[in-house]
Symmetry: C2
Subunit: 260 residues, 2 copies
């Protein structure tokens, strides 16, 4: 049976401070637990209420966890409700280790498309960008300092689990990373909201970095300077701007179409 102290520890992971200290995160719901298993995350435990294993899908999840020797524990509904952030955690949560990524290994894997994000603070936007990036086969994401953590529960939910699959390097000094990537032969495209080349007319290099900035952030001048091309998504001028996740989706779709 789960102890009071364990429950207290798990519950503490709702706070960023404790997630950072401990290197663990709390995830909720069937879908995210399934994705975490599929992504081979390191589980501390899977916790579920007594009437959880009643569907095929939930039984499959428990079986998959057992096969990987993941600790599976039943907990009282009240305890699960204390842990859960969402109204409907579907009777299951898990404590998983934050994925650890090695940047040198990532570069050695010869990534083709990388996105570099400057100060994305909205968890929904970051999560949606990760989901979209994963859809279009982006190889990795570099996330600047002063962004929301990519393992924030709202980011993870909006990413529909893509946060577990995509290599994300956070707290990055973005211009250092970009200068380095440029030296390694990457072409850098910075999406601007005012002026630039129509993204539709750009021939994207095989090794491309797409740079986007958060909606309330003024991007650093040195990031603009290091970019090879400033691109825009033309509209009819009836609203001020596009949401950053929408802009990411439109450009990534175009890069994907031109590659195939």
């Amino acid at each position: 049976m789960i102890s009071k102290n364990q429950l207290k520890f798990y519950s503490s992971l709702k706070e960023k401070k404790h997630r950072e200290q401990e290197g663990y995160l709390l995830i909720e719901g069937l879908r995210l637990c399934e994705e975490a298993v599929a992504a081979n995350l390191n589980f501390k435990t899977l916790l579920y209420i007594s009437n959880f294993p009643t569907t095929d899908r939930s039984q499959k999840l428990i079986a998959a966890c057992q096969k990987k020797n993941i600790l599976c524990e039943e907990i009282p509904t009240k305890a699960l409700d204390k842990l859960a952030d969402t109204k409907n955690p579907q009777g299951v949560v898990a404590i998983v280790k934050k994925p650890e990524r090695n940047y040198s290994d990532f570069l050695a894997s010869n990534p083709q498309t990388i996105i570099a994000l400057f100060e994305i603070n909205d968890p929904g936007n970051l999560g949606t960008i990760l989901r979209t990036a994963n859809w279009f086969g982006v190889d990795g994401v570099i996330l600047s300092a002063n962004s929301v953590e990519y393992t924030n529960p709202k980011v993870v939910r909006a990413s529909m689990g893509s946060a577990f699959h995509l290599p994300v390097f956070e707290n990055a000094a973005l211009s250092d990373f970009l200068n380095d990537l440029k030296q390694q032969g990457y072409s850098l495209y910075y999406a601007d909201s005012n002026t630039g080349t129509n993204f539709y007319d750009v021939t994207y290099a095989k090794k491309s970095v797409l740079i986007l900035n958060g909606e309330t952030a003024e991007i650093d001048e040195d990031i603009k300077q290091v970019s090879h091309e400033k691109i825009i998504i033309p509209g009819e001028g009836k609203s001020d701007s596009l949401n950053v996740a929408i802009a990411a989706g439109i450009i990534l779709s175009e890069i994907n179409q031109k590659r195939n």
Copy 2:
């Protein structure tokens, strides 16, 4: 001075039931108030705290309201905090009449691009779709029953005011509307997440309707049947699906590029 009863009435507009009964909505913050003025919405009142009119932008807003004979009232900070839904309403809120749109007038205006939305429940998604639609010059939106109301405060905020500018027809029996539009010469494109023509290879007709469904909704078979073409956005298969607002953005951008 604003009375207790007035404050109670304004505050009641936070609830959908009262918004529907009264036909008014409560909007918050400088940007949305500016957009509501620009969209010529019918204001009941603009309410601001004593130290609001200290910037150029806030003074311009009050001047624009006065020019239109909109009632502008100072209220105590405590009263504004009671009305506001957001943590940072920037010292200003307004009570505005819900826009009234006439569908016959809309059709008579010869709209080219229309989007039809089936059961979009997430306010952030609907707001982002409206913002994106406005950016790409979509002429109007038809929103099915069992969707979030387009004047829900979260929708309005995510739309960045586009909810005031775009003609939206809600609570629609979607298949009736679509059958009618088809008879009037519109080509209907239904975005599917599984199979269909690559959206990139489609020649969009001058009069087009793009149909999208909410992420948890199974679209009605008769809506699929009435469509001329089922389209997909190809990905690399690394995540299950795209967010509906992202899908809307990608296809609307393509329609816009092909038109220009």
